[in-house]
Subunit: 370 residues, 2 copies
């Protein structure tokens, strides 16, 4: 095999597919990137058990062929090359030379025979949205995925298509994140659970461009993301997702409207007093015109008042500070609305009369502090 | 004790003295910053076995007193406070409240009774230079300090004052770094070995300002750095430094003049093939108009030519790539000059006819590669 391409194109392609390379060496062919030029273009592939990525790099094929190259090594070598033409040539026993200007590297490649290509999937249905829109909706929900949860369903995000509405839902045992966006056209109704880990990797590859599109297609076993010159195939999580609609209620006894920035700053200060692994709750004492925010731990205590607008009853309620903060961080509005019933029932952060987001946070027990 | 000062002043002061707080908690009073307002100003102190730092923070003393506060805790709390006035008040049993706008923290302080103040030192002699000049001369030599060397002398830098010349020398068993600068006036001749670790911390506190001065004073046991509102006292290393002048020779058999950037890029590429802990040398094959740079390891091999100017004999010589690179990184010149005798004798990187820098690198044995 012999190819010539620009350092920058090659490097970008290598970075994209290396997102599917296991970060801990598996000491198998999975640590390699496959370079395949037998189908008329330069295709790079990275693959692991959950997800595979394929991308096409612009360049000239002097001699078609296939070689598997250690991903870390080839990425680092190409990164350090001058910004010029790169020639990769594979000889006997997959001995590979990489030449760029006056620099010449020799490394050992491997046969691509054992390499698992991306599965050929029969797409049943698909949706199209901008890369930016996908990135935003995932960013604003994925923190609620239970990454290492025993329940595999919690390790994924539900993508629910209903006419022109895409709803994305993530939850662990303590909170739920729900986001809705409108698609440009109606697609067939469908529900699918995509592995959070795979989504995270796709987010790192796609752009922030509102003009660039991405197509997401579904099959029984896989989800396929297609954008630019790249294809990502990920396993889907089989099973039925939690009935989130049953958890959601619009009844409340206490509604608090508060400045988001002030509340975030206050919670961040309060968290200084919580050591990692420590489960000290942050307490909201909600009265007519202010919320008194308190925390007390082995390190010390903190108290701070923030002005609010309130409707309904006074309430004292405790939260895991991090869960409230995670939700606040991804809300765009300057003021946020908390809807609460009592110290034992879920608290909803949402905008009344609007559907774009709902964050549910379960309260935690607390003992009174002075 | 009760003080009021701006968040920014307080935070800057805390950051400065926390440089002397052990990074691993010692579970002793050394983990604390001492706040002492009994001498008419707000003095913060951080102290460890090797080094102590004292700085004065602008602010109002409402009630004089002394308290020791856990350094990590107070730094993080003040970091997160709004940019406003901060009040610190210590009550019974050193219970301390920190108030800023509507935020109020309670933490436990400690008595300052056990705290070791900075030693009162009798300055015997001193030099004055700009903070920038000190920062530069240390940055360009300190990488040669043998940080964990069994020989305590190698863990320090020699500061040698000779009339108006300040020479700073650092060395480990494989290389020597020497830098000279001219001071504005002559100071008494003196040699002193300053702990590399302490110098590193001082570098992080002083500014890049060529206008701001720093005074370095010496005693039998200590070196004192005085700048802005801050005093740093460090132990000095006792003993006689290595006779570096005996290692330096101006005789050579081969002189190579080479573009620094090209050589650095090439060595950085070559280092990709060296695994950590692996001692594969980089080989320079110097002939009339070019140097062929080669490396060969278990991972692969690399070869690259760079154009040079040469005087004297052809030479093939091997180096630890990192040691050459460390020196090149701190040389300001576009082209560098290598002076060599044979594959066993020290190589000097310096500018002929100039005294500002000399880097000595010992060559290493190598076996020929194809």
């Amino acid at each position: 095999m012999k190819i010539v391409c620009s350092k920058q194109n090659l490097f970008n392609g290598l970075l994209i597919v290396s997102r599917a390379i296991p970060s801990k060496p598996s000491l198998s062919i999975l640590d390699c990137i496959l370079v395949d030029t037998t189908k008329g273009n330069i295709t790079l592939t990275g693959n692991n058990i959950d997800m595979g990525i394929e991308t096409v790099v612009e360049g000239d094929i002097i001699e078609p062929g296939i070689v598997a190259l250690d991903a870390k090594m080839i990425v680092e070598i190409v990164r350090k090359l001058p910004d010029s033409e790169v020639t990769i040539e594979t000889g006997k026993d997959y001995k590979t030379t990489i030449v760029c200007e006056k620099a010449k590297f020799n490394i050992m490649g491997k046969s691509g025979d054992e390499y698992t290509y991306l599965p050929k999937v029969e797409k049943e249905s698909s949706i199209v949205l901008s890369q930016y829109a996908l990135k935003e909706i995932v960013r604003k929900t994925i923190f609620s995925v239970g990454e290492n949860d025993n329940n595999i369903l919690m390790r994924g995000e539900l993508f629910k298509i209903n006419g022109t509405t895409l709803t994305v839902i993530a939850l662990d045992g303590h909170r739920v994140a729900i986001r809705n966006i409108e698609l440009k056209e109606a697609f067939g109704d469908r529900e699918i659970i995509i592995l959070g880990k795979s989504l995270n990797e796709v987010m790192k590859i796609i752009s922030d461009d509102t003009e660039k599109e991405i197509t997401i297609s579904f099959t029984q076993k896989h989800v396929v993301f297609e954008f630019d010159e790249t294809v990502v195939v990920s396993r889907i999580i089989e099973g039925e997702f939690f009935k989130v609609s049953k958890m959601i209620s619009s009844d409340y006894e206490t509604k608090m409207i508060i400045n988001k920035r002030e509340l975030m700053d206050c919670i961040e200060r309060a968290m200084l007093l919580v050591k990692e692994g420590d489960k000290k709750p942050i307490i909201f004492n909600i009265t007519d015109t202010k919320v008194e925010i308190m925390i007390s731990s082995s390190i010390g205590s903190m108290k701070e008042d923030i002005d609010i607008e309130k409707q309904g009853k006074d309430l004292m309620i405790g939260f895991n500070a991090k869960f409230v903060l995670d939700a606040l961080r991804v809300i765009e509005d300057e003021t946020v609305e908390f809807f609460m019933v009592n110290p034992k029932s879920p608290c909803f952060i949402k905008k009344e009369g609007e559907e774009s987001y709902t964050y549910l946070v379960l309260p935690v027990n607390f003992s009174m502090v002075n």
